[in-house]
């Protein structure tokens, strides 16, 4: 699902609730941070009441830099990231978790890294992956940073969205193939 926001405080509350819910469900939770350091994010989460597990391994919650996750060698490759998601889900089950969920701050894509223009393509494809590897994911888009057209593309490829703090079915969602056809047509 996608979460388009422009209020930082509200975002933190929603993200904290999402992560906390996963931890309570016994899932492996991953967070990809971009605007602050992982340590600062952990501190925010604690401040918002998220019980951060003490035990380091196997970590129920990991907070890492979004750039390192999406572009481990400095380039964004959609298919590699889809593999990462698959592996994450598989390892969470292997480690005994009941499932897995992730959330990422997508502003890393605005830094001009090679391949980052393929972000929407990745977002369209990821829906097929989660059918087989049911990772619950929230992609966070800051409306103050992304233009309106990109945000509408983002909306078009997420079947669910967070609206006013609630998860809702997205009526603008269109199938991957249909979207990618239009996307390529637009160039």
């Amino acid at each position: 699902m996608c979460y388009i926001f422009n209020d930082e405080n509200q975002r933190r509350e929603i993200v904290a609730a999402f992560l906390d819910s996963g931890l309570k469900e016994g899932e492996k939770v991953g967070y990809f941070v971009d605007t602050v350091t992982p340590e600062e994010m952990l501190s925010y989460l604690r401040g918002l009441g998220v019980k951060i597990p003490d035990r380091p391994a196997p970590a129920a919650l990991s907070v890492s830099k979004a750039e390192d996750t999406y572009c481990p060698d400095g380039t964004f490759v959609p298919d590699r990231m889809l593999d990462t998601l698959r592996a994450y889900y598989a390892s969470s089950l292997a480690e005994g978790f009941r499932g897995s969920r992730v959330s990422g701050e997508m502003s890393w894509a605005l830094k001009g890294l090679p391949g980052s223009r393929r972000l929407v393509e990745y977002e369209a494809k990821v829906n097929d992956v989660v059918l087989e590897y049911p990772v619950t994911a929230i992609c966070q888009y800051n409306a103050n940073l992304f233009d309106g057209g990109t945000l509408f593309d983002v909306l078009s490829v997420h079947p669910m969205m967070v609206v006013n703090g609630q998860v809702a079915k997205n009526p603008y969602y269109i199938q991957q193939a249909q979207f990618l056809k239009k996307w390529h047509e637009r160039g």
């Binding site: 388009i4 422009n6 233009d147 309106g148 057209g149 909306l155 609206v163 006013n164 809702a168 603008y172």
Partner: protein
């Protein structure tokens, strides 16, 4: 039409309505008008029968009732359209039907939203919803403008608050510094209101007066702290101070709680508010009781010393007068004329000193005297003993030069020697003559000149070879004055003595 197609149509309609509803519900997330319009234009393509939508907000905001042409004059598409569905060439793909809607709120008009319809019949069921969308868009555009204004005002306010905080902190620090100074100052810091009632004073005043500020706050300063005899006088001083005539270094007594009187030296300043109205008086006082006591003791001792010195001078003068009389008697009894003359000369020298001590003991100042006071009577006394006193005219040009006793005493003897010489030798065989005695000062040096128009001293006599005891003595005393003496021989003799004051 089959049941399936009815169901599909129904689902499509439901989906389209959901989209329009969601669009209206998410527009508020877009922080800028550009983001808002771009997002809405993309989303509008999902509305059945709509090929595209164009939002124009290029024109400046207008009044709510502005005509469509007026609010849309910045947009080429808008000019070709109207708020009814019209068939018009619009320059967009395939031309088509245009439907424009003004973006209006109750407060203003912000542009127009123009739809290019490719199937009007499919669009028609959504027309009302699209009108709602236009209204919501207008509200968000308006909010965005207000938000910008509020953010700018907030930024200004933040800067202003930060500046105020900085000033407040600086003032607090300054106040703390000033209060620390007042609290620790070893001087009285007193604040009175314009009626002379006590507003505050510092711990130092508490320690020297014995009163705590709580005891006396609001009470009349004059009746509580000032001795009764000077109260009215000090009230007048206070009235002047309140009228901006400030006191500097005035010493007055105050009475402590245990009845002691102490002397305080006051410096004050009128306190005014921002409008310039007097709100009180700040007085800074220093306890000078001990200093004043010491000063009084020194003054008394000095007075005592002056009296003693006067007495000493009087006795010296009397003793000298007695000795002069004895020398006269003894000279008269001598048959040897040389011996008698020597005694007369000694008498003359003693007289010069007697005149000095006589003048000193009669004067207010016992340590120094003006040459104008000392020399004229001395010269007259010297001349008076010579038989030719009436035929020699003595002219005096003595400036008002004040010298100490240390210089006056040798100077008197020098004048005695040189004048006696002139009276005795310069006018031998002549009926008349004149002597000029002048004294002047310039650049810290005194010049004394004694000149006569007599026969002149012999060439054989000079200061390196003085001959007689008299000139020898003059040489010694000139050295004592750290001065110089010159003899000039022109028409008569001219002695020029110079020394520092």
């Amino acid at each position: 039409m089959s049941a399936d197609s009815l169901t599909t149509e129904g689902l499509d309609r439901e989906r389209s309505l959901s989209q329009l509803l969601l669009l209206q519900g998410t527009l508020h997330v877009m922080p800028t008008v550009a983001g808002l319009t771009e997002f809405a234009e993309r989303a509008a393509q999902s509305i059945p029968g709509v090929a595209s939508m164009h939002i124009c907000t290029a024109g400046r905001p207008r009044s709510p009732g502005a005509s469509f042409a007026a609010i849309c004059d910045a947009c080429g598409i808008g000019k070709a359209a109207s708020e009814a569905v019209v068939k018009a060439p619009c320059g967009l793909k395939n031309g088509g039907l245009l439907r424009s809607l003004g973006l209006r709120t109750q407060l203003g008009s912000y542009g127009a939203m123009t739809l290019v319809l490719d199937d009007e019949s499919r669009f028609r069921p959504y027309a009302q919803h699209v009108e709602n969308l236009a209204n919501v868009l207008a509200i968000h555009i308006e909010n965005s403008a207000y938000k910008k204004q509020i953010e700018a005002a907030n930024r200004d306010l933040t800067v202003e608050v930060a500046e105020r905080k900085r000033i407040e902190l600086a003032l607090r620090e300054e106040k703390y510094f000033a209060e620390s100074l007042v609290q620790t100052a070893q001087a009285i810091v007193l604040v009175l209101n314009p009626e002379g009632r006590i507003i505050s004073f510092n711990p130092y005043m508490e320690s020297i007066s014995g009163y705590s500020i709580e005891e006396v706050r609001g009470r009349d300063w004059f009746s509580l702290f000032l001795p009764e005899p000077i109260r009215n006088q000090i009230r007048d001083v206070f009235k002047n101070a309140i009228a901006d005539i400030q006191t500097r270094g005035r010493v007055d007594k105050i009475v402590t709680k245990d009845g002691r009187e102490i002397d305080i030296e006051w410096h004050d300043k009128t306190l005014k508010d921002e409008a310039g109205s007097v709100i009180g008086l700040l007085a800074i006082g220093q306890d000078v009781t001990e200093r004043k006591r010491t000063g009084d003791r020194i003054a008394a001792l000095l007075r005592e010393k002056e009296i003693l010195l006067k007495e000493v001078h009087h006795r010296i003068k009397n003793n000298m007068s007695s000795m002069i009389s004895l020398l006269s008697l003894q000279a008269a009894a001598l048959k040897n004329s040389e011996a008698a003359a020597a005694l007369q000369e000694a008498k003359g020298r003693m007289r010069s000193m007697a005149v000095l001590y006589d003048k000193l003991y009669r004067s207010e100042n016992l340590r120094e005297m003006s040459l104008r006071t000392y020399l004229p009577p001395l010269i007259e006394e010297i001349a008076a003993v010579f038989p030719n006193q009436d035929s020699v005219k003595i002219e005096m040009k003595i400036d008002d030069i004040v010298l100490g006793v240390r210089a006056l005493s040798p100077l008197g003897i020098i004048v005695n020697e040189l004048l006696t010489n002139a009276m005795r030798h310069a006018f031998s065989g002549r009926d008349a003559g004149s002597i000029i005695v002048s004294a002047s000062a310039k650049n810290g040096r005194v010049t004394l000149v004694i000149e006569d128009d007599g026969s002149g001293v012999p060439e054989s006599v000079d200061l390196t070879n003085p001959g007689g005891f008299g000139l020898q003595l003059v040489g010694l005393l000139t050295a004592q004055l750290d001065g110089t003496l010159q003899i000039e021989r022109r028409k008569g003799t001219r002695f020029v003595l110079e020394f520092g004051i």
